[in-house]
Amino acid sequence: AQTVTQSQPEMSVQEAETVTLSCTYDTSESDYYLFWYKQPPSRQMILVIRQEAYKQQNATENRFSVNFQKAAKSFSLKISDSQLGDAAMYFCAYRSAFWGDMRFGAGTRLTVKP
């Protein structure tokens, strides 16, 4: 079974600085998707960034980028120029290419200090 591990329960970053959130996963599949979702206090899960396993190039969305290491089964999220609005729970998630359900890590609570 696929598992997702986030080893950092909490992280803190100064406003305008850079922070990296870690995620590792375990799978025997070759075709899958990886995601980072943000969950603010409003509770709604919001997609931050997505990576297809067959793509070697790391995904980037504005201030958010990932470091995808397929062989190491690692998928970290880098947030540059951190803003107060980035404060939230961040969940790493995995899903198989087609029918699979989405598997989530336990989450990392990110605090942004002004």
Binding site: V4, Y33, F35, Y37, S42, R43, Q44, M45, I46, L47, R50, E52, F91, R95, A97, W99, G100, D101, M102, R103, F104, G105, A106, G107
Partner: protein, 115 residues
Amino acid sequence: DAGVTQSPTHLIKTRGQQVTLRCSPKSGHDTVSWYQQALGQGPQFIFQYYEEEERQRGNFPDRFSGHQFPNYSSELNVNALLLGDSALYLCASKLLSGSWTGELFFGEGSRLTVL
């Protein structure tokens, strides 16, 4: 473009009671999944509905059941509530066919408290 909507947003039940949660998927989406998120944890997959049938199920007892209607909306039913069923229940939708990015779109959830 309407996103995923869930109702009710909050509810309180007592042990042994039954609860029904409702979800309307994002416009154009045909697949609905339900997740349970206990406090301080990541969401756990309950089941997924497509074409009004349960297609996949996570490790949840039969007390958890669901339904999908012809308009793609869905219900989650939980019978014989236990204290441990207290959680945020998230509904997520996607379009199974066509341009598929793997992404799920989530609602804001229904917060269930069992006393």
